[in-house]
Amino acid sequence: MAVRQEEFVLNMGPQHPSTHGVFRIVLTLDGETVVKADPVPGYLHRGIEKLAEARTYTQVIPYTDRLDYLASMLMNWGYVQAVEKLMGIEVPLRAEYIRVIVGELARIASHLVATGAMASDLGGLTGFLYTFRDREEILDLFEMVCGSRLTASYMRIGGVAKDLPEGFVPKAKEFLKKFTLSLAEYNGLITGNEIFQRRTKNVGILSAEKAVDMSLSGPVLRASGVGHDLRKVRPYSIYPQFEFEVPLRTNGDCFDRYYLRVLEMAESVKIIEQALASLPEGPVMAKIPRIIKPPAGEVYTEIESSKGIMGVYIVSDGSPKPYRVHFRRPSFINLGYLAEMVRGWKVADVVAILGSLDIVLGEVDC
């Protein structure tokens, strides 16, 4: 008797925990091998760009929190920086330092989710618990600074909402000291684990040319050997003042994408330590008009968020509300190559590849 064989269509998501939110991929399978993959984003679409058109410039800030909610500080930063450029506002030095400190903390927090979630996607829930334990401490620090753990809304056009509270600097220093030990723990628990390595090494290889062609950015790009980090190649804010490396990996496989984030966390620690040591006194808010009304015109600025290049494009018609706001969300653009990347791999590898891309659906769907 002949066995009837045909391709099989499998819906992965939108309620699948390893899609890191509400993401759906329609996989066409031949046995266990992926023949075709159709990503279906959009389940978390809230129309933030449209909502922004009906808000004043300051009122948009809380909505940017909801883009990449794992690193809301960085999202705030990307947006306020664009408005500041449009209005030609000079941000006080202390505010810039605070931005760097909280921004890098947010980067660590976001990478901790990526690292832990990758481990748990591949079946090692222990690693997840360890990274989340340390992430909690960063969220505690954020809570001290702005009152919220996840959706910070901390930055304002022209500076930051409030100065650092008393006790923040010692607490942050204590955390950084502990965190260096924690990084060794992750390396022992996850990086060095043979099962984890076998599941990720040489899986989902992304070549440097293809990564550049698809305008991928962030850790995904750097794991393929392209040393493109906006903090170095097109420095903004006060990043030129700090000494840090941009870690690079060359294989472009899942393991490199994972391990690069661990290395980046160590670099962020260095930046925060330097910033805390040389934190100047002074105001945290520039002198800005009471009603924020940028001149008519348009502006585009970029920052290096935890996921890649976060760009903000604003068109102003001279009224107190933006005429158009567009966010270049790195997660969304990094997803663009997913369908190609998973073709030919097994179902279980799809989880590894998706995990290594580190998407966050608030940002993908906007």
């Binding site: 808000r55 809380p62 809570e143 959706t151 809304s153 060095g192 684990n193």
Partner: protein, 177 residues
């Protein structure tokens, strides 16, 4: 050797196993919250000057303010705070010039009934009291004004009498000549 990494990982978890727990037994044990925590909002009726700045600052139309003008003074008659739409961004409290709106550390915001989610901060007694105060103040002010007006009138009348007297005196003096 294959498995070395696994053993190292297990060692880490074993060491961790004998260390104190990181988690707390939530409802009984609570972690301290920082002062800036954005929990359930609180409204101080007496501080509010009905300037509407919180309403204008809110991105999501959470706050509705009802006012009434008594004796040319705006009085808040109701202050709704629809928590379900609140982003807890704190822009409203930041905009308030009188610190009449503050966020507390209460984070347990779940309610059994939907209508309980919408907070009504002002009760009728407060409004009645405030109205009475304003009226009282207006009356006092009016009385004070009247008194002052009367005094002024008196003063100007006195002055007039004095000047008339003087004029009469002058005339008399002229008559003498």
């Amino acid at each position: 050797m294959f498995g070395k990494g696994l053993l190292k990982g297990m060692k880490i978890t074993m060491v961790r196993f004998f260390k104190p727990k990181e988690t707390v037994q939530y409802p009984e044990v609570r972690l301290p919250l920082p002062d800036r925590f954005l929990g359930k909002p609180e409204f101080y009726y007496d501080k509010c000057i009905a300037c509407n700045q919180c309403v204008a600052a809110c991105p999501n139309n959470v706050i509705t303010l009802k006012t009434e003008t008594v004796e040319k003074k705006k009085i808040v008659t109701q202050y709704y705070f629809d928590q379900q739409y609140c982003l807890f961004c704190g822009l409203c409290a930041e905009a308030c010039p009188k610190d009449a709106l503050k966020f507390t550390k209460d984070f347990e915001l779940t309610q059994y009934k939907r209508q309980d989610i919408k907070l009504k901060f002002v009760n009728p007694e407060q409004v009645a009291k405030k109205k009475a105060e304003v009226l009282q103040a207006a009356l006092e002010k009016q009385a004070a004004q009247e008194k002052q007006a009367a005094q002024e009138k008196q003063a100007s009348a006195d002055k007039q009498i004095a000047s008339e007297k003087q004029a009469a005196g002058n005339e008399a003096a002229a008559g003498v000549c």
